[in-house]
Symmetry: C2
Subunit: 394 residues, 2 copies
């Protein structure tokens, strides 16, 4: 003891009470305002608080109030070891985080705890469960954590999933299906693209799955179009380069009309690889992304993509979680946020001009305040995999 002990409470409520000659209850009341305390008493206590530099201990407060005033944000990072970590660029979560922070700031009392999970690392699960004891609610990115685990979390504290599948929890997500449909339709109808190559993401990522499904639908409804192949990457820039190189090898002499990428990172990787290989975009081939990550938009040959309101995703998810913490009996809700088609030059639209087109939604998102019907967010059958005609060919 004594040595290196300094952890133990500097100044406690008791010290303040003693010095001010009042009870701890009174001090507590002064600290929290709003309670009826005579002005003279309040001033006296306040003076002592300042003099002593008293700051309440949050652990004691939490214990006593049975509320931690902390929410957690859990994000997922995948296969870090496989690629140079610098290439991952988790720009997507960075924006989500920003959104959440914005909300937290508005409501002074909350703090934000963050944790990153590594995909497929089961040893992270206990960590996640013990997080449950540290927060009042959890925001979880991309609902790819196993259902059983999710259930264990949910029965303990409120959980809101960001960009995940509508399961039994609240979900806030972007309208991938409409956005992707608009983008692919644009390629077909306005640029006359026929032969597509799909730079896809992991099979189990919900966003990727929905975009993939939309591609299948668009191709199906345009019989003159088809998929010449696809590549399953891991959403990183490097992975996009790999995809492009694989394509160059397999279809070097007969490039597709368009390469549609599941996210902007992969599209940037494709652009990088093509620049090195001397393939011109969009002259030789159109390339599109998805998400509209800000720094990428600064590129000289900027990406046509679908804007996903990432910050808003964070904000709304946070709102929802706070709501549910306050009133646990709310009905479950899936909130779908609108996407926007962003046309720059990489798809063949005139360079130098950027057009933003709101995408009309396939099905209306539940208007804020009104609970949505339970069930799927839009009409997707839940297992689009295995549809004929557009399985990987490459």
């Amino acid at each position: 003891m004594a040595l290196a002990d300094r952890g133990g409470s500097v100044v406690t409520l008791y010290d303040v009470a003693r010095l001010a000659g009042v009870s701890t209850a009174t001090v507590s009341r002064v600290v929290h305002g709003q309670d009826r305390v005579r002005e003279a008493t309040r001033a006296k206590v306040q003076r002592v608080i300042e003099q002593l530099g008293y700051v309440p201990d949050s652990a004691a407060q939490s214990l006593s109030r049975r509320r931690k005033d902390v929410i957690g944000l859990v994000t997922i990072e995948r296969e870090v070891k496989q690629y140079d970590i610098e290439n991952m660029g988790l720009l997507y979560y960075d924006e989500i985080l920003r959104g959440v922070q914005t909300r937290i700031r508005d409501d002074h009392r909350w703090s934000l705890l963050i944790a990153t999970l590594y995909e497929e690392e089961e040893r992270d699960y206990p960590r996640l469960i013990s997080l449950t004891g540290k927060v009042d609610g959890l925001l979880i990115g991309e609902g790819i954590i196993p259902g059983a685990l999710l259930a264990r979390l949910t029965e303990r504290i409120p959980v809101v999933i960001i960009a995940g599948d509508p399961g039994k929890t609240d979900v806030v997500k972007a309208d991938n299906h409409s956005g992707a449909t608009a983008l692919f339709t644009h390629l077909v109808e306005e640029h006359g693209c026929r032969r597509f190559f799909h730079v896809d993401g992991p099979a189990n990522v919900p966003d990727a799955r929905e975009r993939r499904f939309a591609l299948g639908q668009v191709l199906e409804s345009h019989p003159q179009c088809g998929l010449i192949g696809s590549y399953r990457g891991i959403l990183s820039v490097q992975s996009g380069e790999d995809a492009a190189n694989a394509l160059l090898i397999s279809h070097g002499e007969a490039l597709p009309d368009a390469i549609v990428c599941v996210n902007d990172q992969m599209a940037m990787g494709v652009l990088q690889a093509f620049a090195k290989a001397g393939v011109r975009v969009p002259e030789d081939v159109a390339v599109t992304g998805f998400d509209d990550i800000y720094p990428f938009s600064l590129n000289d040959s900027p990406l046509s993509t679908v804007h996903q309101p990432m910050r808003l995703l964070g904000e709304r998810a946070c709102d929802r979680l706070l709501d549910r913490i306050a009133r646990p009996n709310l009905r479950r809700r899936v909130e779908l946020l609108p996407t926007e088609l962003v046309l720059r030059s990489s798809c063949g639209c005139p360079p130098g001009v950027m057009t933003r087109r709101p995408v009309l939604k396939v099905k209306a998102a539940p208007s804020p305040g009104r609970p949505a019907a339970n069930g799927q967010a839009h009409g997707n059958p839940s297992s689009p995999a295995g549809r004929p005609g557009w399985a990987a060919t490459s």
Copy 2:
């Protein structure tokens, strides 16, 4: 009560103890392993824990142990209202955060709380102080919070400053001076630049100050060179565009040889503005950044810049903080991390090749493990402002 009460402890240690027929002390020991408990007892307790789904309440643990096992990361965002928020792109802190998270992950027991402060918003100060009651230590980005406030924090809990001035606390920062010197010298000696324009950052940002100082020194030691003007921006892309436009107006017919920007964001802004105005880089003018933000490196006309090891900054700062929490009496230390010159094409180096050059430090950073001498990290006089010959002219 009853309604919406669900906050109150689901399963407590007592429940486990009762059901397992042991004392709470024993359960506690089982939960924390390592203590001497008979194997049979341990198994029995463990079984009950699983059956009940018991998760310890962190508030109670913290209160009892007098330790929260949480550290806080405080970042600063500036003048958000003034510019489109999308343009801010806090890529720098995102990387730092990643570094911190990496470390947190290694040492399972810690959690990370994050808070953003808005510059000059005094109403954020109380928030910062009350943070002090929620964490065991604080990592603070850019030491531009007022000294008095910092002092109040420091006397309460361990604090490590990232990229700030060596004051009375521990500091972890990049070697701005050496990096900037190398970059500017490169421009002068290898590209023959003579007339410079400085796209500067806020006066009170330590990183900006050091880079500015290095510029002054380099210009001074090369009498044939000079500053034709400077622009004080706020580190954002938009702000960089503004700088370029201002320059175009004031020196449109006689552009400088080089535009040196205090960070990559501003440099990107300059590039954007020049692209619109038809100014060619590097043919008409060289442009350089600082930091080496990853997504910007994917640009077609990539930026020459100085790489700052942002992740490492986060990791080291975290290490240092954890160290100090464990042993509060450590000697104060300033840790200087090496920078690296990254030559791409925007300064006039041959396009397509990227050269990374380690920068040799002006003064050695204290080797890890050995405390540094107190005082300035390297030989800068503390007030480089007001030096003759390079004040803003524009």
